[in-house]
């Protein structure tokens, strides 16, 4: 699925991030290629979410450069930054839906802010996005507090997709979902990525989802990228942490034979 031309949409070079007095990332370099799904793993507290949040611009960095869609975010002015902002969508771990707005208004929020379309088209697009993530249009009128965990994730994905972004950040998209819903969600991400051609940056702990969905996997540890590549490469790696992670008790034996291709 990774397209032939390996043009990076996100280019991270020598990124250093401190959290209070503690160095979380120490020289991370990473490329997200156009149209690929990059899975991101690492021990809890290794800085996976920190890296994602730093790229999105929610956390300050100490050193290094981040280029998104060819724009260096440090040097970009407000207008350019806003233009980049609307070309990515972010799915937060807990959904982060605006609890005082209905589902429909949540999805319409970025559309209204950025595109200023007619009310009719705005509503139609919001409903279309809802249906795209596998929800009934009736959910449009519900409030986030009335939804189940899986539905919240789907609505949050619909909101992340509202502006047809080129890059999608997913922070543990399948955590807290039952295996069937998690499998559905993986499938959903896969079809959306195929039909819309989105590049996906996915932080996850879900081995199944890594295996099914991701084109490449990056492993973060000791503040650096330990290994990056396909599932085969991960399985073949001699690094003790990777060995424990991919060959541990929760890994499936059949992976060694069938690897996504």
């Amino acid at each position: 699925m990774a397209s032939g031309r390996a043009e990076p949409v996100i280019k991270v070079r020598d990124l250093v991030v401190d959290f209070l007095s503690h160095r979380v990332l120490n020289g991370v370099s990473l490329d997200l290629l156009r149209g690929e799904i990059l899975g991101f793993v690492g021990a809890s507290g290794a800085g996976k979410s920190t890296l994602a949040r730093t790229i999105i611009g929610l956390l300050p960095k100490r050193a290094g450069t981040i280029e998104v869609l060819g724009v260096n975010l440090d040097k970009a002015d407000y207008k350019l930054k806003r233009a980049v902002d609307r070309r990515w969508g972010v799915l937060f771990q807990q959904g982060a839906l605006f609890s005082s707005l209905t589902v429909g208004k949540n999805i319409e929020f970025p559309i209204r802010e950025y595109l200023r379309l007619s009310n009719r088209l705005t509503t139609e697009m919001a409903i279309a996005k809802l249906e795209m993530v596998g929800l009934s249009p009736d959910v449009y009128r519900d409030y986030p507090s009335e939804l189940s965990g899986g539905m919240i994730k789907r609505v949050a994905l619909a909101r992340a997709l509202a502006l047809d972004p080129e890059i999608l950040f997913l922070d543990e998209p399948t955590s807290g979902l039952d295996p069937i819903s998690a499998g559905d969600f993986d499938q959903l991400i896969l079809t959306l990525q195929e039909t819309l051609g989105i590049s996906v940056f996915m932080v996850t702990h879900d081995l199944d989802s890594l295996h099914r969905v991701c084109d490449r996997i990056a492993v973060l540890g000791e503040g650096k990228i330990l290994e990056i590549g396909t599932m085969d490469k991960m399985l073949a790696s001699q690094h003790p942490w990777l060995q424990a992670y991919f060959h541990g008790e929760r890994a499936h034996a059949d992976w060694h034979v069938t690897v996504k291709g």
Partner: protein, 377 residues
């Protein structure tokens, strides 16, 4: 990237459309009128062919606009055809085509008179429900309190002391400042008006009685309701939102005993202390203004105050304080435990808590006034 264009050509009863450029979200604002223009043509059409071969970029917005046009024509019994759609956009088109846009119709709104009546009715039942909840909480509190009386070691003493620090100790500076100013303003206004008929000395009577009997306690309670009542509601509300209260329940703890009782006991201790400090501060403020503005010597002020107020008027003020504290605490905790999932509900309940407790403080003050008047105090 150039915005999309749409060329239309009528051929008898048919219509040929050729789209080009980028049909994406950022141009959707200009693309929608193009689609509207061709679908709202006066002349009926039987066949429509859309050529998408020259489209540079397409996303769900563009695809939906085409799909919408196709649906309009199809519903008019018109034959439609799409040609030249690039293979990589086929999946996108199918995804958009799968959108049904069908919502179950909402129940019809009743007319405005019925709606008004309904809202009045709902408000009345809400008031009744509020009173019930308040009574229930009082009951639960009494039960928790008697349980603690039987087994004193179960009382959350540390939690109570922690709340006491926040609602009493930390509130002292602002309470002292506010009451000082109010005492000063009372004295200034009194002197200004009483001076006209040479009665400035009676300002001391007015300030003394008013502060000790009414103003001191009511003002302090209003500030406590705004400062600590709102904090209680917000704390309990966010605990409710994050299921912390449910967690307590499942572990076999009574939230009223663990969370509500220490808070209300802290208020019952705090409000009388704050009332006393506030009253003294108000008298001090009144004294300062009488001295500097009214020219009444402090010794005169003190001896006059001694004659004007009795211990009884001080007692009348102080006896009200714990009752006010209970009301503020009860309302704050009831509202906090009613918070639902949304951020908005937390805000509404906090506002409700402050408004209702201030209202009830004044109502109770009125009851006490009637009560003491009947007793002739």
């Amino acid at each position: 990237m150039t915005a999309g264009t749409l060329l239309s050509q009528a051929r008898g009863e048919g219509l040929a459309l050729a789209a080009a450029g980028s049909w994406t979200a950022e141009h959707a604002r200009t693309l929608e009128p193009l689609i509207n223009a061709v679908t709202r043509r006066k002349r009926p059409v039987r066949f429509v062919a859309i050529d998408l071969a020259r489209i540079e970029r397409l996303d769900t917005y563009g695809a939906w606009l085409f799909e919408r046009a196709l649906r309009t024509w199809n519903s008019q019994g018109c034959e439609t055809r799409i040609v030249g759609l690039a293979a990589n956009y086929r999946g996108l088109f199918d995804k958009v085509r799968a959108s049904t846009q069908e919502m179950t119709p909402q129940p019809r709104r009743p007319n405005s008179i019925i709606a008004t009546l309904e809202s009045v009715g709902r408000t009345m039942t809400a008031v009744a429900a509020d009173i019930t909840l308040l009574v229930q909480m009082t009951g639960a509190l009494i039960v928790a309190f008697s349980r603690v009386l039987v087994r004193p070691h179960t009382f959350r003493f540390k939690s109570m002391v922690n709340h006491l620090e926040r609602v009493a100790w930390n509130a002292v500076p602002i309470i002292l400042l506010m009451t000082l100013l109010i005492g000063a303003i009372l004295a200034q206004q009194g002197i200004f008006h009483f001076r006209r008929f040479g009665a400035d000395i009676y300002v001391i009577d007015m300030v003394g009685v008013l502060v000790l009997r009414e103003i001191g306690v009511v003002l302090v309670c209003i500030m406590v309701a705004g400062r600590s009542g709102s904090a209680y509601t917000a704390e309990l509300g966010s605990m409710k939102m994050r299921e912390e209260i449910d967690a307590l329940r499942t572990m076999g703890f009574d939230p009223v005993e663990v969370l509500v009782l220490p808070r209300i006991v802290a208020l019952i201790i705090a409000v009388p202390i704050l009332t006393f400090l506030g009253s003294m501060s108000a008298l001090y403020g009144g004294g300062l203004v009488s001295w500097f503005y009214g020219g009444i010597d402090p010794t005169v002020f003190i001896s006059r105050l001694h004659d004007a107020v009795s211990v009884q008027s001080f007692e009348v003020g102080m006896i009200k304080a714990p009752f006010m504290a209970i009301i503020i605490g009860l309302v704050a905790c009831v509202e906090g435990l009613q918070v639902q999932g949304s951020a908005e509900s937390l805000g509404t309940k906090t506002t409700d808590s402050v408004v209702k407790s201030i209202f009830l403080v004044i109502v109770i003050d009125g009851f006490f006034a009637v009560f003491f008047a009947t007793l002739g105090i």
